[in-house]
């Protein structure tokens, strides 16, 4: 009797103590559900728990985040927004305009984010001057992957211009190798397209076309040349590419059926999972042309009630950009840390190349957002462009028609 009374008193004491110092709580909506990615997020959850927080996991995969965005809209409209959401690119600002994002400037300023993040990436994390999202990583999109043995046995070096690429591809085709492994899904078509566009239009032209949506650039002769090159690329793809998952295309490069693939650095994860070594079994290089197309994953905090959830948001934001998580997460995921002061000793050669290129391109102004992965434009505009790109690639549409449709589709997307 005495003992239980004592227990009751101490329980009450505990409850009141926790009411004073709110225990951080976070429900996190994300679409990293597969093995490697999930393990990466689990690192964050572990750090969160070590700091006294309670993490509730709300994973929704599918369509590169489409399904998660569907769930997010329903949650926001029902007045039951998740604490933190995996969001990226201009979508962050779009949600901010709907008045549902929380301000995390206090954390960002205390942690000095402005000093450790490249300026153009930091720009994506700000809404009207205040910080509203925390970056996790930097994926590079304009990679070209190759099977080392296939290149060697055909006497081909990694191409540095699109003409070289075309010449190499013709040589490979003549030797009976599929030059380009590709999956015919709209987002993959767009991924190849933007790599080609960066090479042909140059960094400035790319920015004009796919960030500013400058009509003169969209209808320029250079853009016609981009579509011409896409038509050429179509000839380097095998007949059965439609609908193929990107990782099956990667497998084709791995087993020597195909020579090249143009894909973001998540493809590296597939090579690594199959026990391949970068530089020996497979090669990585940036696609022909200068510049760096980035795809930055980030988390935005939504406006929620309750001290415990607000504490959770602050803790989460702090941990996400913290150096230890940035290192461990990106080692798992194949990307590189968003903050530039993390030691890269543990990273592989492709990641080191990526980090060096990011540094260089950040300095010369060619660090650019990927349009294909929702970093450059809002959904309606990037979607309109992708419609034209994929329609052109999968039919016999002429480049001139494609350019005309491009301008029209962009105009019709508002």
């Amino acid at each position: 009797m005495k003992r239980s009374a004592f227990a009751a008193v101490s329980t009450i004491a505990l409850i009141s103590a926790s009411a004073v110092v709110a225990e951080p709580q976070a429900e996190v909506l994300h679409w990293w559900t597969s093995g490697g990615e999930a393990k990466s997020v689990a690192v964050l959850q572990q750090e969160f728990a070590d700091n006294g927080g309670t993490w509730t996991d709300m994973p929704v995969a599918g369509g590169g985040g489409d399904a998660a965005m569907t769930a997010l809209r329903a949650r926001v409209l029902s007045g039951n927004a998740p604490t933190a959401v995996q969001l990226k690119g201009p979508a962050i600002q779009e949600w901010y305009e709907e008045g549902v994002l929380a301000d995390i400037s206090s954390v960002a300023e205390a942690e000095g984010w402005a000093d450790v993040l490249p300026a153009s990436i930091a720009g994506h994390m700000k809404c009207d001057g205040s910080w509203c999202a925390a970056p996790v990583n930097v994926h590079r999109v304009d990679w070209i992957w190759a099977n080392a043995d296939v290149l060697e046995s055909n006497g081909i070096a990694m191409p540095t211009t699109w003409d070289e690429f075309n010449a190499a591809a013709e040589k490979l085709a003549a030797a009976g190798v599929i030059p380009l492994a590709h999956g015919g899904q709209a987002w993959q078509d767009a991924t190849v397209f933007e790599a080609v566009a960066l090479g042909i239009l140059g960094a400035e032209g790319f920015h004009k076309a796919f960030v500013e949506l400058d009509e003169a650039t969209l209808t320029s002769d250079a853009m016609v040349a981009v579509f011409d090159q896409m038509r050429t690329m179509r000839g380097f793809v095998d007949a059965n590419f439609s609908g193929r998952d990107w990782n099956l295309a990667t497998a084709m490069v791995m087993n020597g059926e195909a020579a090249f693939q143009i894909m973001g650095d998540w493809a590296k994860g597939e090579f690594m999972a199959a026990g391949k070594v970068p530089g020996e079994d497979f090669l990585c290089a940036s696609t022909p042309g200068d510049g760096f197309l980035y795809n930055v994953d980030s988390f935005a905090m939504f406006e929620v009630d309750g001290e415990d959830k607000k504490a959770g948001q602050e803790l989460l934001a702090e941990l996400i950009v913290g150096p230890s998580f940035q290192e461990v997460f990106n080692l798992n995921k194949g990307s590189i840390p968003a903050r530039t002061d993390v030691s890269l000793d543990a990273f592989d050669s492709c990641a080191l190349l990526s980090a060096a290129d990011m540094q260089a391109s950040s300095e010369n102004g060619s660090l650019l957002p990927s349009y294909a992965h929702g970093m450059a434009l809002r959904g309606a505009q990037s979607g309109a462009i992708t419609d034209v790109v994929t329609a052109h690639f999968n039919s016999d549409m002429s480049s001139a028609d494609a350019v005309a449709q491009l301008a029209q589709a962009v105009a019709n997307s508002y």
Binding site: W31, A61, A74, R75, S78, G79, N80, N247
Partner: protein, 297 residues
Amino acid sequence: MADLAHSTPRSQSNLGRIALRWLLYILLAVFALYYLMPLFVMVTTSLKSLDEIRTGSLVALPREVTFDAWKTAWSGACTGIQCEGLQPYFWNSVLLAVPAVMISTLIGALNGYVIAQWRFKGANLIFSLMLFGCFIPFQVVLLPMARLLGMMGLAGTIPGLIFVHVIYGIGFTTLFFRNYYVTIPSELVKAAKVDGANFFRIFWSIFLPLSLPIIVVTVIWQFTQIWNDFLFGVSFSQAGTQPVTVALNNIVNSTTGVKEYNVDMAAAIIAALPTLLVYVVAGKYFIRGLTAGSVKG
């Protein structure tokens, strides 16, 4: 019953009849192959190792049979940071589907009973309004429904999901029961009324006992719809209440991770087991229930 193959002895020779019979069985077998093909691909893939899938043909028999993928799908696959497989989500789906099917079947039975047997002015109009409701694309209702669920305090809960499924099940369940009850002579109700039985008593002791076949049809239909639903499940759930289809989607549809097709296929079959079981066990009653009148106009 149309019993034609056996009952026209004089019109065909014996040999011709046997040939016809063979042709019939061959045709049936060919179609069975068509229906079984995807299942074959799914089952064989689920029994292969990932290495074999990477290197071999996707539509070949496994060289070495392994059940690892099944084990992983049930209790080890990552659906987020938890790697507990489909197991925990399975239970959510049961908690959601069982009450939702029961409630919507009961509502359908009562509605069908009223519309078929207690006709009043406007009943047919109400019925057609309900039927038209079957056709509304669910993508349309997501956002306003989310708003209303929030207002009712049901957002993200299993009762909320049950509510949504019951609402959008009304059309079909009412259709099934109404078409079944409309074949029962109205004299039955009149006679019962003369005997002093009231509305509910007639339903309870006359109509319900007659309804087993159509209950089976309705339960099969609703169970399939609700168990396989993804759109409502993903939109109106939150952490802890997600149904099995959402977990399945999380395993299968991650975009930038390494794809484990064997686990995907095993997970898909596991997630479909309850519905498959319902079809196999209740299939006979399904045809019987439909025969008993549900499909007659």
